[in-house]
C-alpha cells in the first residue's frame, strides 16, 4: 500500500517508452465483415496532445477503444497486429488491468457515471485499486480542484448538467493519474463556452501534469490550436499524421470537409500560412495586412426574417416552466415571449441548462407551464435529443409502413432497405428515420406541421451529415414549416438559420437575424466572426470576400 498522503501532481510515468503504440493493427467487430481498423501504425509519446480527426465511421472510436482494452475484451471480434499501452499488450490485459495506465472518456457522459454522488464516483476507481482511505480522500480533492469541480463533490450525479457531467467523467478518468487519456468527442454535448473550457483544461493538464492526450473530435476548429499533432482517420486507416498546420494543408487539398473555417477562408483568398486557430489567424492578419479595412465594411446580405404576413406557428407568452430534477424545484423558463412564423429557420442557442430543450418540450405540450402559455396552431413535430427513442422495431419497414411511410422517408431524403434493423443504421440515417417517424402522415398540404423542432440533432455528426441536415431544414421551410433547431454548434447554425434566439438562464437574451447574433459575441460566434470581428461577418464565403478586399486594399496602397 502506498504511503497515505503522498500524491504526486504529475502523471505516473508509463512503464515503457511510449504511452501508446500500435503496429500493423487490424480489427474487425464481431458482427461485421468489414474491418474497422486497417494496418494502424501509431506511436503516442508521453506528454503529447494529439487530435484524432476523421468523418463519421472512419475508425476514431475503434482506435480509442483499442487504446484502452475495450477492443477486443469487451467488443469481441478479430484482432491482428500489436497494440501496447504503456508497454502492456492489450490482448493480454483487459480494461481493468489497463485502468492504472490509461483513462477513457466516451462520448456520452451519462453512460460513464455509475455512482450516486460525484464524490463516490471519483472515489470508485481508487477503491477498486485498493488505495488507503486517506490517500483516496486527497486524490479526490486534488482532481476536483484541478478540474474546478470541488463544489460538485456532494451533488448527486442526476442533478448535473451535461457540461458538469463531462467534467466529472474527465475527473474520474484522471483521478488515478494515468499517463495517457483517451477522449471520444467529449465536447459533442457541450455548449461553446463549456467546450472551449474543456479543451483548454485538457491542454493545461497536458502541460502541467504531463498527461498524454488523444482527443477525437469533429469540430476541429475548437481544438486544433491546442494540439501538438493531428492524426486523421480514413476508412479505418491513418490518412494523415503530422502537425496541425500541415494537416490543414492536407485537408484543404484532399479532405476539405475536415478543414476548419479559418483555413478554408485563408485558402480561399490565397493567404498563407493557413491558421491553426483564431489567435493564429489574427496574428497572420496583423502581419499580412497591418491596416484593416475601415469599420464601415459589412456584408450586404443579412438574412431576411420571414414575412410578417406569414402565419404564426409558435406563440409563447409569459411562459414560465418549473422543473424539479430531484433536488428541489427550479425555474427553467422565466417569462418567455416568443413568436415564430411559417417558413422561418431558427436556431435556438444557449449554454447547457439555459432552457432550450424545455422550451421545445413546452411547445410540444410535454411539460406543463406554471405560468403563461404556448400555442402551436398549425401543429408541431418534435425530434427529441436521442433519435433511438423513436426506433422500437427490428425493421425499418415496420416503423414506417405503407405509402405515407414511404413518403415521409422520401421527404427526409432517406433511402434504406426496409428490411434493415434501425439500430444498424448510421447516426445520420437514424436521425432521418426518427424524423420521418415524427413527420409520417403529416407531409402533405394541411397535414404538414407548422413547426418542426429538432433538439441537438448534430451530436456526433461530421460535416457531410450536417450538410444533409441543413438541406433537410431548408426543404421543410420551403414547404411552409418553420424549423426550430436547438443546437450548440455555431457553424451549423450559420449554415441553416436565418434567425437565432439565444437563451440565458431561462430568458431570451438575444433574438435577431443570424448574422447579427452570431457576429456580435465571442462564444456564440462563428469562427469567421471571431477572426474578423466585423458586424454581420459570419460565413466562410464572407470571410473570403473580406480577405480579398483586404488584399486588394493592400495592393492598392502598394501601388
Amino acid at each position: 500500500m502506498a504511503e497515505a498522503g503522498k500524491v504526486n501532481l504529475v502523471a505516473s510515468p508509463p512503464r515503457s517508452g511510449h504511452a501508446l503504440e500500435f503496429s500493423g493493427l487490424d480489427y474487425t467487430y464481431a458482427a461485421s465483415s468489414e474491418p474497422a481498423l486497417r494496418g494502424i501504425d501509431l506511436v503516442v509519446e508521453p506528454g503529447e496532445f494529439i487530435v484524432l480527426a476523421g468523418g463519421s465511421g472512419s475508425g476514431k472510436t475503434s482506435l480509442l477503444r483499442a487504446g484502452c482494452g475495450l477492443i477486443p475484451h469487451f467488443h469481441g471480434g478479430e484482432i491482428d497486429g500489436t497494440a501496447l499501452v504503456a508497454g502492456r499488450p492489450i490482448t493480454g490485459n483487459g480494461p481493468g488491468q489497463l485502468a492504472d495506465v490509461v483513462g477513457y472518456v466516451a462520448q456520452d457522459p451519462e453512460t460513464q457515471i455509475v455512482s450516486t454522488t460525484v464524490a463516490a464516483e471519483l472515489d470508485l476507481p481508487l477503491r477498486f485499486r485498493g488505495d488507503h482511505p486517506a490517500e483516496r480522500a486527497r486524490a479526490v480533492e486534488e482532481v476536483a480542484l484541478a478540474l474546478g469541480i470541488p463544489h460538485l463533490l456532494s451533488r448527486t450525479v442526476t442533478t448535473l448538467s451535461g457540461g458538469e457531467l463531462q467534467r466529472v467523467a474527465l475527473a474520474v478518468a484522471l483521478v488515478t493519474r494515468p499517463p495517457l487519456i483517451l477522449l471520444d468527442e467529449p465536447t459533442s454535448q457541450l455548449d461553446p463556452v463549456s467546450g472551449d473550457e474543456l479543451i483548454w483544461l485538457l491542454r493545461r493538464l497536458n502541460e502541467e501534469w504531463g498527461v498524454a492526450v488523444v482527443l477525437a473530435e469533429h469540430r476541429l476548429e475548437r481544438c486544433l490550436a491546442a494540439a501538438d499533432r493531428v492524426v486523421a482517420m480514413d476508412e479505418g486507416r491513418i490518412g494523415f499524421d503530422g502537425t496541425p498546420r500541415d494537416f490543414l494543408a492536407w485537408a484543404i487539398e484532399l479532405r476539405p470537409e475536415l478543414a476548419t473555417p479559418s483555413a478554408m477562408m485563408f485558402a480561399g483568398a490565397g493567404v498563407e500560412p493557413l491558421p491553426v486557430g483564431v489567435r493564429d489567424a489574427r496574428q497572420i492578419l496583423r502581419h499580412e495586412f497591418p491596416a484593416p479595412l475601415d469599420q464601415g465594411w459589412g456584408p450586404d446580405n443579412e438574412s431576411v426574417p420571414a414575412s410578417q404576413d406569414a402565419p404564426s406557428v409558435l406563440e409563447a407568452s409569459g411562459l414560465w416552466v418549473e422543473l424539479d430534477p430531484g433536488d428541489g424545484p427550479r425555474d427553467v423558463l422565466r417569462g418567455i415571449d416568443l413568436e415564430v412564423r411559417a417558413g422561418e429557420k431558427v436556431a435556438l442557442m444557449g449554454r447547457n441548462g439555459a432552457g432550450k430543450s424545455t422550451l421545445l418540450r413546452a411547445a410540444a405540450g410535454l411539460v406543463e407551464p406554471v405560468g403563461g402559455r404556448t400555442m402551436v396552431p398549425e401543429g408541431i413535430a418534435l425530434l427529441t435529443q436521442n433519435p433511438g427513442d423513436f426506433l422500437v422495431r427490428d425493421r425499418v419497414g415496420d416503423e414506417l409502413a405503407g405509402p405515407e411511410g414511404e413518403a415521409a422517408m422520401k421527404a427526409v431524403g432517406l433511402e434504406v432497405d426496409p428490411d434493415r434493423d434501425p439500430r444498424d443504421l448510421s447516426g445520420g440515417e437514424r436521425q432521418r428515420l426518427a424524423l420521418a417517424i415524427a413527420l409520417a402522415g403529416r407531409m402533405e398540404g394541411r397535414a404538414l406541421p407548422g413547426l418542426v423542432c429538432l433538439d441537438e440533432p448534430t451530436r456526433g455528426m461530421d460535416r457531410g451529415l450536417k450538410c444533409h441536415l441543413t438541406d433537410l431544414a431548408k426543404r421543410l421551410a420551403a414547404q411552409g414549416s418553420a424549423v426550430l433547431i436547438a443546437t450548440h454548434d455555431v457553424e451549423f447554425a450559420v449554415s441553416f438559420a436565418d434567425r437565432v434566439i439565444l437563451l440565458g438562464d431561462g430568458e431570451v437574451i438575444a433574438d435577431a437575424g443570424m448574422q447579427t447574433v452570431l457576429s456580435g459575441g465571442w462564444y456564440f460566434a462563428s469562427e469567421a466572426a471571431r477572426v474578423f470581428d466585423r458586424p454581420g461577418l459570419v460565413t466562410v464565403e464572407q470571410g473570403v470576400d473580406y480577405l480579398n478586399d483586404l488584399r486588394n486594399g493592400a495592393e492598392g496602397e502598394g501601388r
Partner: protein, 292 residues
Amino acid sequence: MKKLSPIAYVPKRETIQTASLGPVALYLGAYLLVCFFSSDPLVLVAATAGAAVAGYGSGAGRAVNFSLKLGGFLLITMVVVNALVTSRGATVLARLGEWPILGRVDVTAEAIAAGGVIGLRALGTMVVIGVWSACVDPDRILQAVHGVARRSALTATLISRLVPLAATDYARIGEAANLRGPAATPVGRAAMANRLLAGSLDRAVDVAATLELRGYGMEAKKTGFQKIASRYDLRFWFAGGMLMVVAVAELALGPGRFETYPGLEYQFEPLGPLVAFAFLLGGVVPWRRRAK
C-alpha cells in the same frame, strides 16, 4: 434539464437511506417475500399498505405513488384479462358468448378473484421495489456485490443500475411514442417492452464497460470499503428479523388459505389478521421523530 425518474434513488437523511444495506435488505426482503408468494388477499393488501407507509415515511412518496399507479394498472389488467381468458369457476357472473380467438367467454367470480390475487402480488411487489429503488443507494449495492462477484462487473451493474436505467428509458421512449406521426406504426406494449428490454441491456452493458474501465475486475489488494454503521441499523435488524419470521411462518402455515377454483373459499384463521397487522404496523418502522 433532466427530470428525475420517480423511482430513482435520491440521497436523503431518512432512516432507510442512512441505514446499512444488510438490515434494510432484511426488512424490505420480508415485505418482498410476502408480496411475491402469499396468496392471502388480506395479507397482500396489508403488506402493500405497509410497504407504502414505509415509503412515505422515508421520503419516497413519489416512488410509492408511481408504483401504486403502475401496479394498480397491472392489477386491473390482470383482473380483466383473467376474467376473459379463464372460464373456470362455478359462479358465472356473465355469459358473453363466442369471441374471436378466445372462444366461449364466461366471466366467473373465481376467475376475477384469481386475477385479483395475481394483480395484488404484482402491485405489492412493485411498491416494495419502488421503495427499494428510491431509498437504497446503488453505490452500496455495488460495494456489497464487489466483494462476492469481483470479476463480474455486469452482474453488479444489472443489480444496481438496471431498475433506474429502465425507468429512465421507459419515460423517454414513452414520450417519443407520443410524438410519432399519425402514419407511423403506433408503439404497442409488446414493441415497447421489447425495446425497453433491449435498450436497458444495451445501457447496462455500457455501464459495465465503464466499470471495467474504472478497474472493477482489477486484481487489487484488499479494498478499503468501509462499513458505515447507522443508528437505525438495530431498528431494522429487529423489525426485519421479526417480519421475516412472520413471513416465513405465513408462507409455511398458510393461515388464511384462499382457494379460487372450483369455488371461492377463504379459510379464516386468527393468525391471518395477525400477520396482516404485523406487516401493516411494520410500515411505521422507518418513520422517525422530526427535530423541531
